[in-house]
Amino acid sequence: EQGLARFLELIESDARVEPTDWMPAAYRKTLVRQISQHAHSEIIGMQPEGNWITRAPSLKRKAILMAKVQDEAGHGLYLYSAAQTLGTDRDTMFEQLITGKAKYSSIFNYLTPTWADMGSIGWLVDGAAICNQVPLCRASYGPYGRAMVRICKEESFHQRQGFEILLSLMNGTDAQRQMAQESVNRWYAPALMMFGPPDEDSPNSQQSMAWKIKRFSNDDLRQRFVDMLVPQAEILGVTLPDPDLKFNEETGHYDFGELDWSEFYEVLKGNGQANTVRVAKRRAAHENGAWVREAARAYADKQAAAAEAAALAANEMVAA
């Protein structure tokens, strides 16, 4: 009971809960689920962009793309570390990912058939991620909040790069402009769905908000995102594919059309463009690398054994 009082006090006062603090089992469980899903999303998110590294159309873009995909692997690592402070180890979480038991963001189950998708992912997907994540920097759980600070810094960099890719295309040839518009058409709605179902269909959100893991509702975040997007789309010269999108003088926000939530649930159920393929690819990489990890372990064991033997021998010499 003392623990619970202390926990509620921390939450109340907007202070951080740390790994050594007592916390409710449900709080811990919610966090582990959310952080590991976020980590998995970073790992799986490497694939749709990794798809274009060998075909990037300029060396500068190739370097930026490689660096970005690297960053995602790094984010995955920080987040696994944050989750580990809650008592679930990385191997367990990774196993859940590659056996298809764990969820990750559905957005990465879309394909990237064109180069312009590298722009749309940066601008729309990373953009939505930032709207989601900036409030998470103040998440009540310390290690998570701190990981998010670092991640958000890099994500906003990625969003700018995505914007630049689209801008270059929109300033380019007709074929490039078409490529950009077609890609934005495909990514716009899925990006809006990244904030999750409408508030009335999102029962878990309430508790997360009470615990100050989540700070804003799905619909609030979505609105914030659309408001950010519209002026940027104007700069780019791309059309956002929503005929109902228009500024509402009264609310000061952009109204937008109904989203096709049946699509969202289809992808969530596993019937997206690439669900099975994404997981299978990471699993194949993991399986193909098993001998490497075993070798590293065996070598480390041998080194440790040799060091111990050397220490023993040294002791004996001293004793003799």
């Binding site: 060396l59 690297q70 690398g289 490497v292 070798a295 065996a298």
Partner: protein, 254 residues
């Protein structure tokens, strides 16, 4: 001068193609740490490629992208080691070890070039290659001394890459295209003669291989000729993939 540009082009192509191959590892590594490590090494080397190609291109009014995306196979100057497929992790480490030893001695020597640009590129690269060399040495030991399977695969990797070592240390056939010629006129004090670097390879690598419990391969060398535009069979498909988008949109900016 033309000779300096040709020299930079050769070095730049080596780095460009190796970086491309390393890029193929992304999201395919045996663990996340290696996705990151191989990607970082690839990024460093892509950086070297960009500096060298930009410098080479400046002599001809061409950009790095003109050179990377709009040359055909025989116009590329990369040595064949860098073109080889990534294979498994053992093969990649074998190449990376050979390449890092080569780059390490090359860039350390090139730091003293009388050509300021080349010296500056080399000075920056040297620090990065230091880390690359450490990475592949560590893995050579881990794989060589790890399990039976890893020793087998590491040995197979070395066997596959060893035939391409010789070509690295042959004279640069600058400009003239003359194979095995002396350093072309105009490059004394500017370029590094790779033949002078061979002793270091022989002093370092065979011993490392033995320390890892493996056998120094005895296979004969391939003839090579990458600097003359003669490339191995893996190169055509690599180039097709690398250039496909850029060539579909000639003149476009990205």
């Amino acid at each position: 001068t033309e000779a300096v540009a040709q020299y930079a082009l050769g070095l730049g192509d080596d780095a460009l193609i190796l970086a491309h191959r390393l890029g193929e590892w992304i999201a395919n590594g045996p663990e996340l740490e290696e996705d990151i490590a191989l990607g970082n090494i690839g990024l460093d080397i892509l950086g070297h490629a960009r500096s060298l190609l930009t410098y080479a291109g400046s002599a001809w009014g061409k950009t790095e992208d003109d050179l990377a995306y709009f040359r055909s196979e025989p116009e590329f100057r990369c040595r064949q080691l860098f073109e080889q497929p990534i294979g498994d992790f053992g093969q990649t480490i074998a190449r990376q070890l050979i390449a890092s030893v080569y780059f390490d001695s090359l860039y350390r020597a090139l730091m003293h070039s009388s050509d300021k640009t080349l010296a500056a590129i080399a000075a920056k690269a040297t620090k990065e290659v230091d880390y690359h060399l450490d990475h592949s040495t560590q893995w050579l030991l881990r794989l060589g001394l790890g399990t039976d399977e890893s020793a087998f695969r590491m040995q197979r990797g070395l066997d596959a890459m060893w035939p391409f070592v010789d070509e690295l240390y042959r004279a640069e056939p600058v400009a003239s295209g003359d194979f095995g010629a002396e350093l072309a006129e105009g490059l004394e004090g500017i370029a590094v003669d790779p033949r002078a670097l061979r002793a270091e390879f022989d002093a370092v690598v065979p011993q490392l291989v033995r320390d890892a419990g493996l056998t120094v391969p005895q296979t004969s060398a391939v003839r090579g000729g990458g600097r003359q535009g003669i490339h191995s069979e893996a190169f055509g498909p690599l180039l097709a993939e690398m250039q496909v988008l850029a060539r579909q949109h000639p003149g476009a900016s990205w």
